[in-house]
């Protein structure tokens, strides 16, 4: 394994640890805690001694650094603790809620890539400059669209007005259409913007003039010379946008009432279910880091210049 790969993996581990620690501190700093919220409920009729017992059983009153080390050790061995609210292992909870979010995120991301590529291609191929400026202004419209508003609007139009998608008990695929659309639109915007800017920039490169001087048509140049050079820098952004995707998923699931990680996050915040939140943060960070690591490791495959540099570092 080359030095480059080892270095990147080391960085990824560092980011994960930092995400864990920061979220641990922030979650501990929250006023109130899940045990009090759940067991102080007057309907349960528990006395102060009983609550103290429960707190002791969760080790909730031990010093923070001990709790921290415990949690670290547990996470490293794959034990994510128990949800205080639901009383089930956090790992099971996440696994159960993962598939809808995974579908939503994957389809949302694919759709946003498709939308971005179509917009960029239309702009690059448009024969008139007014048309091109119009197409290039679309992403800024998308970017300023709030997810919750778009979701509600889509439900209004497609479910209530046009009655294309039932609100009550839609099929599993039908249920995904509107959320995926809602999620994809704002994510596609920065992708499209960066792609368009890269295309415009690559088009001014001298090697494009050389290709034109060979007799290559505009389409040939776009396809054979510009596309790859413009897509390369976009990869990094695509990795970073994955974070947006997770954030967008929380809101989208809330708007459409889906039971995914977003919904789970929202409920856990309400209940201050720290164990669940901690696991979700670490899980999201791991996914984020993994995707960006993949992007970093893929770069040399596409860009011969990095292959050489990687060789020099090896």
């Amino acid at each position: 394994m080359s030095r480059y790969v080892i270095g990147r993996i080391g960085q990824a581990a560092l980011v994960l640890w930092a995400a864990f620690t920061v979220s641990f501190i922030l979650l501990q700093a929250l006023p109130g805690d899940a045990i009090l919220i759940k067991f102080l409920n007057p309907e349960l009729g528990l006395g102060p001694e009983q609550i103290a017992d429960i707190r002791a059983s969760y080790a909730a009153d031990s010093p923070l650094w001990m709790q921290y080390l415990h949690t670290v050790a547990n996470f490293l061995t794959g034990r994510f603790g128990y949800s205080i609210h639901a009383g089930v292992p956090v790992g099971d909870l996440i696994l159960a809620n993962l598939p809808p979010t995974l579908w939503l995120a994957t389809l949302g991301f694919l759709l946003s890539v498709v939308v971005a590529v179509i917009l960029a291609a239309l702009s690059a191929l448009s024969p008139f400059s007014w048309l091109r400026s119009f197409i290039q202004s679309i992403p800024s419209l998308f970017i300023s669209t709030p997810v919750f508003w778009l979701g509600i609007l889509l439900i209004q139009v497609f479910s209530f007005q046009l009655k294309l998608i039932p609100v009550i008990n839609p099929g599993p695929w039908q249920a995904l259409i509107l959320p995926v659309l809602t999620l994809a639109v704002p994510i596609s915007a920065p992708l499209a913007q960066i792609l368009m800017r890269n295309i415009d920039q690559v088009l001014t490169e001298p090697f494009v003039a050389v290709a034109r001087a060979k007799g290559a048509s505009h389409r040939w140049v776009l396809w054979k010379h510009v596309a790859k050079n413009a897509v390369l820098p976009t990869l990094t952004i695509a990795g970073i946008l994955f974070g947006e995707l997770l954030a967008g998923a929380v809101v989208t699931e809330a708007v459409f009432g889906l039971n995914g990680l977003g919904g789970l996050t929202q409920r856990s915040v309400n209940d201050q279910d720290i164990a669940v939140l901690q696991a979700i943060v670490v899980f999201s960070a791991a996914a984020f880091v993994l995707i960006n690591l993949t992007v970093d490791l893929l770069y040399p495959v596409f860009d011969p210049r990095l292959r050489a540099r990687q060789g020099a570092l090896a």
């Binding site: 090697f207 050389v210 001087a213 060979k214 048509s217 054979k224 050489a308 020099a312 570092l313």
Partner: protein, 554 residues
């Protein structure tokens, strides 16, 4: 005299029909402040097999004219009037689609900058093959064979390997050879060579120009050579067209234009071109401020290693360089890219610790300076960089730029600082009105004056000029060189002049060190080195200076 400079026999078949005929061409660009015409009423002829040079400074419209011929004007550019006839057919009004049929096959292009003119993510072979594929020249196997043949023809070693390599794996000269292979692939009748060698080292430049010459003779191709270098035009062209401000100043056979320039502007260009001028015959008068013969700079067996590949391998950038510079004189360090000249300069200024060797500047050993002492030392030695466009902060005003060094050292009251800035600005010949402006409102020459003023405001003893005139047009270059000379006389400055341009070095320096691959291959008084070069490398460098075929001989 006229016969003596008639260096090239006029092609025997002169009365042939012109291959390219440009008549009354006018080109303009649409900008933020309306449409601006940059090329006016340009008329010229290129006959088959002939080299016509378009000579001019930046902004003269030479590149725009060439781009108009091949239909590659920037998107906001437009041919407004006139005709571009290729074999009698006017192609000025052709659509891009029509032009695609003749570009590459009948007109081709050798671009300026070989580093950015090849697609970084495609192999060399694919990029040469492309021109054959576009014009459907045979099967895949035939094209592959032709690619190897072309790469061999332009003088690349191991063509099979090169075809599989990517551009970044080749040197600048090799990339320019690849671009030439692309340009000649379909044996076009006309090649437009847009500053084909200005980004290359002088010895590489000569080899590339020789190659273009050779291929031109072999294929009978005509060349429209765009260049800022009158020396290159003098050596290579049959016919010279001098442009200024988008208008033709004069044109005619090369020998005639060089020997009897009719326009004032051409005379000035000829006088300012360092490669065409003779060496300073008069010994330079030392500044009266200088007494004694103490050395401002003494470098002893300087060695500078850089680690590459994770500390295991060591690259020796500078290998045992020694020289001394007397106070108030100019010492030049000459070499091509990778020769170690900039590394040497950086060690002298104290930007890096040498691996071994000693450097004394003004009696201070630079190699042992650290922290505050090093910072104070920077007052005695200042740098002027190559690119006056990049070395000035675009957001600062000229006043702020020149004042800044003063803020870093002994705190002066505000009025004293202002007084110093005003005085130094006058010294470098800039009007006080530029003080409130930003760098972008200044010309290249003015910017370099600002950079010099910034360096001088601290009253340094030594000025390191790192390719300080290389990015400037010849007339501006001549002005800056004159200014440097004058400042040296008046202030008793010592210059360390880093340059790749031997002709300029001969004009400005007293002593010279020639570096090649980190080693000093020649050194001594500049005329000695020029007249009696001690190494074959120096001889090669000197013979590669363009402009010697023409007037160098008489």
């Amino acid at each position: 005299m006229t016969t003596a400079i008639n260096i090239r026999p006029v092609p025997a078949d002169v009365p042939k029909l012109p291959l390219l005929e440009i008549s009354n061409l006018a080109v303009g660009y649409r900008g933020s402040d309306g449409f601006q015409r940059v090329v006016h009423e340009v008329c010229l002829l290129v006959r088959p097999g002939e080299v016509v040079a378009l000579v001019g400074e930046s902004g003269s419209g030479k590149t725009t004219t060439a781009q108009a011929v091949i239909g590659l004007l920037a998107e906001n550019g437009r041919v407004e009037a006139g005709a571009v006839r290729l074999n009698g057919t006017d192609i000025a009004g052709w659509s891009q689609r029509q032009l695609d049929t003749i570009r590459g096959s009948r007109i081709s292009l050798i671009p300026q900058d070989p580093t950015s003119s090849l697609n970084p993510v495609k192999t060399i072979g694919a990029q040469v093959a492309e021109v054959l594929q576009i014009h459907r020249q045979g099967s895949r196997a035939e094209i592959d064979a032709r690619v190897i043949e072309l790469l061999t023809r332009v003088g690349l070693s191991q063509p099979e390997l090169r075809a599989k390599q990517y551009p970044h794996e080749l040197s600048g000269g090799m990339r320019q050879r690849v671009l030439i292979a692309i340009a000649i692939a379909l044996r076009p009748a006309l090649i437009i060579a847009d500053e084909p060698t200005s980004a290359l080292d002088v010895t590489v430049q000569k080899r590339i120009l020789d190659l273009i010459d050779e291929l031109r003779r072999e294929y009978g191709t005509a060349v429209l050579l765009v260049t800022h270098d009158l020396g290159v035009a003098a050596d290579r062209a049959n016919h010279i067209v001098v442009l200024k401000g988008g208008r033709i100043q004069e044109q005619g056979p090369t020998a005639e234009v060089l020997a009897f320039p009719r326009s004032e502007y051409t005379r000035k260009l000829l006088a300012d071109a360092p490669s065409l001028g003779k060496a300073r015959a008069v010994p330079r008068i030392r500044s009266p401020l200088i007494s004694g013969s103490d050395d401002a700079i003494a470098v002893e067996s300087l060695v500078q290693d850089f680690s590459i590949g994770g500390n295991r391998e060591v690259f020796r950038a500078v290998d045992g360089v020694s020289f001394t510079v007397k106070r108030g004189t100019t010492h030049a360090i000459v070499g091509e890219s990778g020769s170690g000249k900039t590394t040497t300069a950086r060690s002298i200024v104290g930007f890096q610790k040498p691996t071994s060797g000693r450097i004394l500047v003004d009696g201070i050993d630079v190699t042992i300076l650290r922290g505050e002492n090093l910072r104070q030392f920077r007052k005695t030695i200042q740098l002027v960089y190559q690119n006056p466009f990049a070395s000035l902060d675009p957001r600062q005003t000229i006043f702020q730029i020149v004042e800044e060094p003063l803020l870093n050292f002994d705190p002066l009251p505000r009025e004293d600082r202002a007084k110093k800035v005003h005085a130094i600005l006058e010294r470098v010949g800039l009007p006080q009105s530029v003080l409130a402006r930003k760098p972008r409102a200044l010309s290249g020459g003015q910017r370099q004056r600002v950079a010099i003023a910034r360096a001088l405001v601290l009253d340094p003893q030594v000025l390191v000029l790192d390719e300080a005139v290389s990015a400037l047009d010849v007339t501006v270059q001549a002005q800056i060189l004159a200014l440097l000379d004058e400042l040296q006389q008046a202030l008793g400055l010592t210059y360390l002049f880093i340059s790749h341009d031997l002709a300029v070095v001969r004009q400005i320096s007293d002593t010279v060190s020639v570096l090649h691959n980190g080693r000093q291959v020649d050194s001594g008084p500049v005329e000695d080195v020029f007249l009696r070069p001690g190494s074959s490398y120096t001889r090669e460098l000197i013979s590669a200076i363009p402009g010697q075929r023409g007037i160098g001989q008489h």
